[in-house]
């Protein structure tokens, strides 16, 4: 009986699931209207610190290993450890700050909508009109 339950659970976990779209969101007054994967990679590695109009970029990230987080990391071809090393180098040389980590998508949405120059990501179903959508990862 136990064996059957385990097999059932294993088979359920391997059923392919449709990936939920993730959106890259920004503060409404950010001058840019879109970001490419390459732009996003530069923003998340703090290689690009300004929007096109010169405004400072403030990056928000999720603390937990949420699916939306791994989707974004995959989209920019970065592993979590690689990003953490990059942020450590930037922080230790005084060149910038690591992304600000928040606990939940709701908190991230609230921070991005209220912080000038902010950028972050959430599941598409959680987004509202308080922020600007710069890209959709499907």
């Amino acid at each position: 009986m136990i064996r059957h339950v385990i097999l059932l659970l294993l088979s359920l976990s391997t059923v392919p699931q449709a990936k939920e779209p993730v959106v890259i969101i920004a503060h409404k007054q950010v001058a840019d209207d879109s970001v490419s994967a390459a732009d996003l990679e530069k923003i998340f590695t703090i290689g690009r610190q300004r929007w096109k109009n010169g405004q400072k970029i403030v990056v928000y990230n999720l603390k937990s290993d949420a699916p939306s987080k791994s989707r974004v990391y995959k989209y920019i071809h970065k592993k979590p450890l690689e990003l953490r090393k990059t942020w450590l180098r930037i922080q230790l040389t005084g060149e910038g700050k690591a992304p600000i980590a928040v606990k939940t998508e709701a908190e991230l949405l609230s921070k991005v909508s209220s912080t000038p120059g902010a950028i972050g990501y959430i599941r598409a179903e959680s987004v509202d009109a308080s922020v600007k959508i710069l890209a959709t990862i499907r």
């Binding site: 010169g54 979590p80 450890l81 953490r84 230790l92 040389t93 005084g94």
Partner: protein, 387 residues
């Protein structure tokens, strides 16, 4: 009475602390002051053998040194403040080798004190005391939580400064640096140009008349640059500096010195390769005398998973002028670590450095040619904390 005094002192300390932590009214239009840092504490078992011999003259000196020690290897305190969207101020204080001024242990250094003007990602200017960009490692050589090493590649290892002239290989500090990143399609072009004082031996250490300590006593300058390219997980660059080597004690004067460097690092899967080469050349027109130096290192690091890593590193250096290093010096570094959290890393390392010079020419201290052999082995464990 003593209790009263102690109570009074602690009240004063609390008040001073409270005042220090209270932001001034002007501070409200600025970002908060960020204070953070790291320390690395280690335990080392050190074995050293140094042989100086000449069988023909029946001359032989063997020094053996076997010791172990705990040490607060390095503590750095950083202060960072964004004054507005364009200007950032940065201070870096460094304490090494269990620093205690009372007991004459270790050293306390103001490593950096600069202000950065961020015009755009393409153009940034740092002014003040700074560690210049040279190859890949120089700028981060003292950031221990970022580095896998306990003992670093020799030209970046301050504890070896007594046997290896570190500042001859890489520039230690500068005072003005213009740098930035230029996007070129999917690649990035990094550049940095800097200027600073001449080397430490030219800096005044004894106050006399109008001459303060800490000031350059020459009218020479250090100038340097690095040009680099980043593409995906690959990074490469070339570096160069020009300054003058103070060879006045050896009677050669102030010799024009050029340092050339190249660096390459890339990652494939869990493996990261990092390598550098440095050539130091002098403009010295004296037959039979060369001050030139070379250093190369290559490290392969493997991140077995998010927590565990291991590495092997081979280093080779030569100094045409320095006794014992004329026939080269090899260093092997093998180590690994475990990231307990992102802020706490355990490290272990085996390091072996050996130098061997046959038939070293006589000088004032050794009047006969000698064979010199140096072997040093470290077994070290450390923990590195970022706070």
């Amino acid at each position: 009475m003593k209790k009263e005094t102690s109570r009074y002192s602690s009240r004063v300390a609390v008040i001073l602390l409270a005042l220090a932590c209270t932001p001034s009214p002007r501070a409200f239009c600025q970002e908060a002051l960020e204070v953070f840092g790291f320390f690395q504490v280690n335990f080392q078992q050190f074995l050293e053998t140094q042989r100086t011999e000449n069988p023909a003259f029946n001359f032989s000196v063997v020094d053996e040194n076997d010791r172990n020690s705990f040490s607060a290897q390095q503590i750095n305190l950083f202060f960072r403040k964004e004054l507005n969207s364009s200007f950032t101020a940065w201070l870096n204080f460094e304490f090494t080798n269990s620093f205690s001024s009372e007991r004459n242990w270790g050293a306390f250094n103001l490593e950096e004190a600069w202000i950065k003007y961020h015009h755009s990602d393409r153009l940034k200017i740092k002014a003040g005391l700074l560690i210049p960009v040279f190859n890949n490692l120089n700028e981060v050589k003292n950031r221990m939580p970022y580095l896998p090493y306990i003992i670093r590649p020799p030209v970046y290892e301050t504890s070896l400064s007594e046997i290896l002239p570190l500042s001859d290989f890489v520039p230690q500090r500068a005072y003005l640096q213009v740098y930035g990143v230029q996007e070129m399609g999917s690649a990035n072009l990094d550049y940095a140009v800097y200027v600073g004082n001449s080397e430490d031996e030219h800096i005044n250490t004894v106050a006399s008349g109008s001459q303060q300590t800490g000031l350059d006593t020459t009218n020479f300058l250090l100038v340097g640059t690095r040009l680099g390219m980043r593409f995906g997980r690959c990074k490469a660059g070339v570096s160069a500096t020009y300054d003058r080597d103070n060879q006045n004690p050896s009677g050669l004067g102030d010799v024009k010195r050029y340092r050339f460097g190249a660096d390459l690092s890339f990652s494939v899967g869990a493996l990261t390769f990092e390598g550098e080469t440095i050539f130091v050349q002098h403009d010295l027109d004296m037959p039979g005398i060369s001050l030139d130096k070379r250093f190369h290192y290559g490290t392969v690091l493997c991140d077995f998973n998010e927590r565990m890593f291991g590495y092997v590193s081979y280093n080779y250096g030569e100094d045409d002028f320095k006794f014992g290093l004329r026939d080269g010096m090899d260093a092997y570094l093998v180590g690994g670590g475990y990231r307990i959290t992102d802020l706490l890393i355990l490290k272990a390392q085996f390091s072996k450095i050996s130098a061997d010079e046959d038939d070293a020419p006589p000088d004032a201290s050794l009047p006969v040619p000698v064979d010199f052999k140096f072997d040093a082995t470290w077994y070290s464990v450390a923990f590195s904390v970022f706070f």
